[in-house]
Amino acid sequence: MRSEALKAAFISVLLFLIFIAAWHMATLPKESATLAGANAEYAALMGKGAEKSGGFPPPAEVGRAFVTYLSDPFYDRGPNDKGIAIQLGHSLGRVGLGFLLAVLVAVPLGFTIGMSPLLTRALDPFIQVLKPVSPLAWMPLALYTLKDSSVSGVFVIFICSIWPMLINTAFGVASVRRDWLNVARTLEVRPLRKALLVILPAAAPTILTGMRISMGIAWLVIVAAEMLVGGTGIGYFVWNEWNNLALPNVIFAITMIGVVGMLLDMVFGRLQRLVTYRE
């Protein structure tokens, strides 16, 4: 088992090195591309543009971007130049707030729906229609009604993370084993106590699965939302660096988005394991 993990890690590292090597080879500067004479002067006139627009950045350049940003993650030099931790912090703040609001709405509502087959049926068409709508499609409505780009970002996160949680909570609550409910009934357990001590723990794994899916979607959506509304956040950072044509920074940002997304998923995976019970 251990040696298996070791082997897998070894192969991972090997694949990564091969990828970097291939990348390096593919982006080696070509002889013909070297600029001479007037061209170089012209390029110099264009400022730093010459070195940046020299094609796809080689790994070394991206590595330098990693070092620069990670060595000073918290600086703040005006609206267009903030450290990566600050940008990620803004994104995480929006995701956290929107997600929390979604939990506050989806879990109680899902509970109610799950307890009543009638409500399940009555609300099903709405959920089925609203669920597949891309959260970004809500953006114009949100901007118009909320009149604040940052709040609109939070709203978009809220609206995209509510559906998986709502559906999973309702499903989890509706499929609590009959036996456990019968035990609660024969013990004359009061409704609130039953909800908290029987139904909630029984449905918790399903609810947590919904939350994990929601968080995954929210982290996907925040990048796009911030590209639209601008200002702060990792999505805005990506868009800003694209406008600067600073591809190494874009690649760096992509990696950061991936790492943070993975960490978020791990946190929810941990929580999920915490509430999962063996029968």
Binding site: N182, V183, V275
Partner: protein, 310 residues
């Protein structure tokens, strides 16, 4: 009003019709029986005769189509703490520890008890079923027999007026079943608990019961006969089959299940039968003189455990 602890009168159950719209025949109707305080009553019958439904009606978990059950002077209208139920599938909550499951029940009965008091009370009942060591384990870490013991401890812990057992040992192997039967027997003898139990196991019924209700086959199932177990109340699993009454009772029961259970209702009805007063029989006593008079023509029944389980 009679002085019986539990009185069941004219119970009838029709399940809602399926898709074809045709009305279902009643699973059982005209069910009359009574249980006195401290009695241990088993009910035996083939699958589909509605035993579990009757138990659920007594537990208040299901409603009968007609008829009623009066327990301790009050009609059973819904689930109540007066009945402790042991479910066939043990129905323990897997996220709670063994003790947690029992304490949940104890706190339901006595909400103002402190946690410590409830835990001590629960632990005492778990001790009683021989689970003193395992109280902090999760149900998933226990064997099937131990889980069922927790279920029994949980039912006893709320000190119900009546205990309802729905085939509690059906899913256990014969060895485990024997041990738990012994324990149940001991506890019931000590506490004089009133018990209503469904079983498929003829030997189990003879070992535990004061009387056995025999149900005919459904639909239109009836209580065909009430068999009084005339064996001494102080029985042990090890010694019971040495009693001359044992095989008489056993043969009577098996004979009913194999041959007679289908002859009571519907088009196959062959015997006149007053459902309101099913005949009470004492096969243990009736056979005795016959045995004394004539030497048995058959060989003695080999000691084989027969489990009727369809």
């Amino acid at each position: 009003m009679s002085g019986h602890f539990l009185l069941v009168e004219g119970l009838k159950k029709i399940f809602p019709a399926g898709g074809n719209g045709e009305a279902n025949p009643p699973v059982f109707d005209d069910i009359h029986f009574h249980i006195d305080k401290g009695e241990f009553v088993c009910i035996i019958g083939h699958s589909g005769c509605g035993k579990t439904t009757i138990l659920n009606v007594l537990a208040g978990l299901e409603e009968a189509t007609a008829g009623n059950a009066i327990m301790d002077g009050r009609e059973v209208k819904g689930p109540s703490l007066d009945c402790g139920v042991v479910f066939q599938s043990h129905a323990l909550m897997p996220w709670m520890t063994v003790l947690g499951n029992v304490v949940f029940a104890v706190k339901s009965k006595w909400p103002d008890w402190s946690r410590a008091k409830a835990a001590a009370h629960g632990a005492r009942y778990l001790e009683m079923v021989g689970l003193g060591e395992a109280i902090h384990k999760k149900p998933a870490e226990l064997s099937g027999g131990m889980k069922q013991r927790v279920g029994i401890a949980r039912a006893f812990a709320i000190q119900p007026k009546m205990l309802l057992l729905d085939e509690p040992f059906g899913a256990l192997d014969a060895l485990t079943r024997g041990t738990i039967q012994d324990e149940l027997l001991k506890i019931v003898q000590a506490t004089h608990q009133t018990v209503f139990m469904i079983t498929h196991d003829v030997d189990e019924a003879i070992l535990l019961a004061d009387k056995i209700l025999l149900m005919s086959n459904g639909p239109h199932a009836k209580i065909a006969e009430i068999v009084e177990i005339t064996l001494r109340r102080e029985r042990t699993r090890a010694g019971i089959h040495h009693d001359p009454q044992y095989y008489l009772i056993r043969n009577h029961l098996v004979d009913f299940l194999v041959n007679r259970s289908r002859t009571y209702a519907g088009i196959e009805a062959e015997v006149f039968h007053d459902a309101k007063q099913p005949p009470v029989v004492r096969p243990g006593l009736e056979g005795q003189p016959a045995l004394v008079r004539t030497p048995p023509t058959e060989k003695p029944v080999p000691h084989l455990k027969q489990v009727i389980n369809h």
